[in-house]
């Protein structure tokens, strides 16, 4: 979903006719100037909220990398555990 939002921001940075060439109408894109993104980082004593710069390239990929990587590690651990269990039965 976040990747899609990022794409719509990039499309919004284009002249409408260029976005239309890719099959997107003007009302289905997002204006980078009107989008705000914040990173919420949990800390022991609360949450640190940091603004993320949105550019015509969209939302920086590294903002979500930690979340995606954590999910990846979790999925892989479960995947191998399931294989082990399958073998044991």
């Amino acid at each position: 979903m976040l990747a899609k939002l990022s794409s719509l921001i990039s499309l919004g940075a284009m002249p409408p006719e260029k976005a239309a060439e890719l099959g997107y109408l003007e009302h289905s894109t997002l204006d980078p100037e009107r989008v705000s993104v914040y990173s919420f980082r949990p800390q022991p004593d609360g949450v640190v909220v940091e603004p993320i710069e949105v550019t015509r390239e969209g939302i920086p990929d590294d903002v979500f990398y930690k979340v995606v990587e954590s999910l990846y590690e979790e999925t892989m651990s479960i995947h191998y555990k399931l294989q082990e269990l399958r073998e044991a039965t």
């Binding site: 990747a3 990929d61 590294d62 979500f64 990587e69 999910l71 990846y72 999925t75 995947h79 073998e87």
Partner: protein, 137 residues
């Protein structure tokens, strides 16, 4: 740790593992271009691991798909047996941007990513990271 050469690839194998078989899949699948590079069968303790490796430059969706799609063919040929644990490894030279998407795709295809430049595929690092050398003894 030892290093084995399979086809054009060099692969680091942990001391705890014994290489049972190693296949250059370019030879096994001579008629098909849709195959990964290497299959290595490892014995670790009483467990058998089938490690399929694809070595590429800039990683693409087709590399992940090829790795996943190959498992069925390898099982049909009897090279990967049902009792084996399967690891799919994509060894690549990295991306300038789009890492999140790559990791998300690797999650979807259950593929291990290893980013290296001109170094052997390091199964020691992957198996150790996943706790398999301890767990499957």
């Amino acid at each position: 740790m030892s290093t084995v050469k399979v086809g054009k690839l060099r692969v680091k194998v942990p001391e705890e593992a014994r290489v049972v078989e190693a296949y250059d899949l370019d030879e096994v699948f001579a008629c098909s271009s849709q195959r990964p590079d290497t299959l290595i069968i490892l014995e670790v303790g009483q467990k058998m691991l089938a490690v399929v490796v694809e070595d590429t430059g800039r990683p693409e969706l087709k590399d992940l798909r090829r790795l996943s799609d190959s498992i069925g063919s390898l099982k049909e040929r009897g090279l990967v047996e049902p009792r084996m644990m399967v690891l799919k490894v994509l060894h690549h030279t990295g991306l300038k941007s789009g890492r999140s998407i790559l990791v998300e795709l690797a999650r979807r295809f259950r593929v291990e990513l290893q980013e290296c430049h001109h170094t052997p595929i390091d199964l020691d690092q992957i198996l150790r990271k996943r706790g398999m050398l301890l767990r499957i003894r």
